[in-house]
């Protein structure tokens, strides 16, 4: 698959219309910062991602990225458009409305949209971000590229599902309810009594029911309750009244309130401690993650001493455990709250009964009636309880219970016994129900475990598959690394799946013979980025969907000149059959690419500096090395002269380096800052004997070239230097300078085969152009 052209209209920096034409070849596009190179990359990404560009996803870009996607100076009547045409004529057209909503239309059999953007487009910041990312982040980036993204998505969905099942089934709440019901049950049975709630129910049933119809606990509880109520009905009004007072006296509201207060205080202390500690650890974690070198030690949030990353992980684990304690206490708090409210409700209900009414009306102590009526009228809060409400509840209802306790002390045993039996039956039933509730959710717990096992199986599958694929890709990474860094003592560069953790992929290597677990330990910024480039290209090399194009946006920024040259070798060696779209602001590199890449497979274009959003992206019509200088001829001739000198500096440096010309020694850094004058002098002095041109089948000295070098040197030393210092070069002088420099540079490239004299090396060690007309002996 090859991209033939990209047409943009009012998309990002594009004005009314701009077209990138590749002629179905690979292309190198040069442009200054802001010239609009990345708009073409953004357009490709927009199409591949179905209407979004990843680096534009931020709070300012709008819901559909409309604030960033559309040209800010687009006329209201114009829509933004992208059109990408493939070599087979298939085309994707996108119209983007002012709201950012986009409409895609496809024409033809193939489509660019089947491509995975992450394996097609690489930008400089992504390389850097990838290398600086954690093992987990590398895993997230690489897994989809390894084709295992859907497995990871499934594993994560199952993890969330298990969590949801546990939450929805309320297994921890059920456990707390059983604990609480058991405590209450044990409070109403004697020490010698039954330890099982079901046994207690059966015993009460046997005691009050002569022949139960069914021996299930539910049936026994219902029959026992009916029998006890029947006995209470049969008792005298006085006995019923006494039973009611007994029931009221037995409600352990005071104890429940004390426990509730203790739990509340406990929760407050634990929560406060946990929150403080958690904040400190999270703060340290954030600062640690923001640190460039994550493997370095950091200050411990609790003791201040230096700790390693593993220790921080242990801290985080402890904080999670501490938060789980808070969660358990919160559940206990809610259970005790429910209990207090239930007891309070029971007090109010009993106080409103007719039996209690009879008691308070006939009571000899006049203080009882107002106390019990206040309790009967008390409004119990529904779900929450402030300290003030609790104090009021305790005062009002507690006094009614105290009055009942005092009265019950004088009751005959029969009524007391019936009331106790009813109380025991009620608590036993509550406990059995709570236990059954727990049993029911135990099954849900097993279901959650089953789901977690599915997740574990998927993770194992991911580990197994990724290990195999990563081994293969590591071979490619290693091969590409050796092309970029031949003979360097950094070897066995590879991706690795750590044995000790899920969801992690890292890069390992051998540095001067020593195994290192991370490139961040020793590699320079440039080498790290070079490594990131190798990883991406290895992924792209394995991605064979229609031999997809590879788009590289300014990816060589942090590489030095030597390694940039190696990138050319890498592209030629590994991707000669793929279309590569290169975008760079590095003029030297662009010039080098133009010299050394196959002109029949590559196209080279330059963008003019960006002027206004309305004009948008503009192509330079010129293709020569000195065309950038000519742009300034009319408005700023001194700049034109200066630009010409810079261009000749760059161009000649490459020729002289490739021809291996010895240059006179210069002191210190001047060796690295040689100018066109140094190179021209060398070309003149060595060229007299070595630079030859084939005329009528035999070689002779290329005297025309020597003269051209001399003329260029002379003008560069006068007018170009004047242009950069005194700024008084005239337009005519600058034009003459550019022409002379152009002629001198032209001498080094064959007019027949368009290749430089340094293009090839013969068996004898001579340099020559492709057809051999130019030769450097």
């Amino acid at each position: 698959m090859r991209i033939s052209r990209i047409d943009l209209s009012w998309f990002r920096g594009a004005g009314d219309s701009v077209t990138l034409e590749t002629r179905d070849r690979s292309i190198s596009v040069y442009g200054d910062n802001g010239a609009g190179k990345s708009c073409f990359v953004d357009a490709i990404e927009y199409v591949l991602r179905g209407g979004r560009v990843e680096h534009l996803r931020h709070e300012y870009s709008g819901r559909n990225q409309e604030k960033a996607i559309l040209n800010t100076h687009r006329p209201d009547s114009e829509a933004a458009r992208i059109s990408i045409t493939l070599a087979d004529g298939a085309r994707t057209d996108v119209a983007i409305a002012p709201s950012g909503a986009s409409v895609f239309e496809e024409e033809g059999d193939s489509t660019l949209r089947i491509l995975d953007c992450a394996r097609t487009v690489l930008r400089q910041d992504e390389v850097s971000k990838f290398i600086h990312s954690t093992k987990g982040e590398k895993y997230s980036v690489l897994l989809p590229l390894l084709g295992l993204g859907s497995l990871e998505v499934a594993a994560e969905n199952f993890r969330q599902l298990a969590k949801s099942v546990r939450k929805q089934s309320g297994i921890s709440e059920a456990a707390v309810a059983v604990k609480s019901a058991r405590a209450r049950f044990e409070g109403v049975v004697d020490d010698a009594g039954p330890d099982s709630a079901e046994t207690a129910i059966l015993e009460l049933c046997k005691k009050f029911v002569s022949e139960p119809h069914d021996h299930s606990w539910e049936h026994c509880a219902a029959e026992a309750e009916r029998a006890i109520d029947g006995r209470l009905e049969d008792t005298s009004a006085l006995e019923r009244q006494q039973a009611a007072v007994e029931r009221l006296a037995k409600i352990e509201l005071g104890a429940a309130i004390d426990e509730f207060r203790a739990v509340t205080s406990d929760l407050a202390q634990v929560a406060d401690r946990a929150v403080q500690s958690r904040l400190a650890v999270l703060e340290a974690t954030r600062s640690h993650l923001g640190n460039d070198d994550q493997d370095s030690a950091i200050a411990c949030p609790s003791c201040g001493r230096e700790i390693e990353k593993a220790e921080l992980c242990e801290h985080v684990r402890k904080e999670i455990s501490s938060l789980e304690e808070v969660k358990a206490k919160s559940e206990m708090y809610r259970e005790h709250l429910r209990r207090v409210l239930a007891f309070a409700g029971r007090v109010v209900t009993v106080c409103q009964s007719d039996d209690i009414e009879r008691w308070i009306v006939g009571a000899s102590d006049p203080r009882i009636e107002p106390v019990v009526r206040a309790a009967a009228d008390f409004s119990v809060p529904q779900d929450t309880l402030t300290e003030e409400q609790l104090a009021e509840l305790q005062d009002v209802l507690g006094e009614a219970i105290s009055a009942a306790v005092a009265a019950a002390a004088f009751h005959p045993p029969a009524a007391t016994e019936l009331a106790r039996a009813k109380e025991r039956l009620s608590e036993a039933r509550t406990l059995v129900e709570a236990e059954q509730g727990l049993e029911a959710v135990r099954a849900a717990g097993e279901l959650a475990d089953q789901i977690s096992q599915v997740e574990a199986d998927i993770r194992e599958e991911i580990r197994s598959q990724s290990t195999d694929i990563i081994e293969e890709i590591s071979g490619d990474v290693q091969r590409m690394w050796s092309i970029l860094h031949p003979g360097e003592p950094i070897e066995q560069v590879r991706l690795e799946v750590p044995q000790d953790s899920d969801k992690a992929i890292d890069i390992a290597l051998k540095f001067h013979g020593k195994d290192l677990s991370s490139p961040r330990l020793t590699l320079s910024e440039g080498n790290r980025n070079s490594l990131g480039l190798c990883v991406f290209l290895a992924m792209a090399a394995r991605y064979e969907v229609g031999a997809a194009p590879i788009v590289l946006d300014d990816v060589i920024v942090s590489l030095d000149r030597g390694h940039r040259g190696m990138v050319v070798d890498l592209l030629e060696a590994e991707f000669s059959d793929r279309q590569v779209l290169l975008f760079t602001h590095d003029r030297d590199w662009h010039a080098e690419l133009r010299q050394h890449l196959d002109g029949s497979a590559w196209t080279f274009r330059s963008l003019l500096p960006f002027r206004t959003p309305t004009e948008g992206i503009r192509w330079s019509d010129r293709t020569g090395t000195l065309d950038d200088a000519r742009v300034h001829l009319e408005s700023r001739p001194d700049t034109a002269a200066n630009e010409a000198r810079k261009a000749v500096d760059v161009e000649l440096a490459m020729h002289v380096e490739r021809l291996g010309l010895p240059l006179p020694f210069a002191r210190g850094a001047r060796n690295d800052h040689r100018t066109a004058h140094d190179f021209l002098q060398a070309l003149v002095s060595h060229g007299k004997k070595k630079f030859q041109v084939q005329v009528d089948g035999s070689y002779e000295a290329n005297l025309e070239a020597i003269d051209a070098f001399k003329a260029a040197d002379k003008l560069l030393m006068t007018w170009a230097n004047r242009g950069s210092h005194s700024e008084d070069v005239t337009a005519g002088e600058a034009e003459r300078l550019i022409d002379v420099c152009s002629t001198a540079l032209g001498q080094l490239t064959c007019t027949s085969c368009s290749k430089p004299v340094s293009f090839a090396t013969t068996r004898r060690g001579h340099h020559q152009c492709n057809c051999g007309i130019l030769r450097w002996k």
Binding site: S150, L151, V153, A154, E156, N157, F158, Q160, L161, S164, V165, K167, Q168, S169, Q436, E439, A440, A443, A444, L447, Q450, I451, V454, I458
Partner: protein, 63 residues
């Protein structure tokens, strides 16, 4: 209602297979396609819990 032990076992097997099948179906389909929202996950969890209740009813245990 009474059922013979064979058909009760079959019912129980059916319920068990149903949850396992449901998990397999999720793994091969919807769960592998895209990250689900918490609302969607809760909905699936509720379906599974309902299936579990139905299974418990088949076993004669009240839910």
């Amino acid at each position: 209602m009474t059922t013979d032990s064979t058909s009760a076992d079959e019912d129980a097997d059916r319920a068990e297979i149903s949850i396992t099948d449901k998990l397999k179906e999720l793994r091969a389909g919807r769960f592998a396609e895209d990250s689900l929202t918490s609302g969607e996950i809760d909905e699936v969890a509720q379906q599974l819990l309902d299936m579990l209740k139905a299974e418990a009813t088949h076993d004669g245990v009240p839910s």
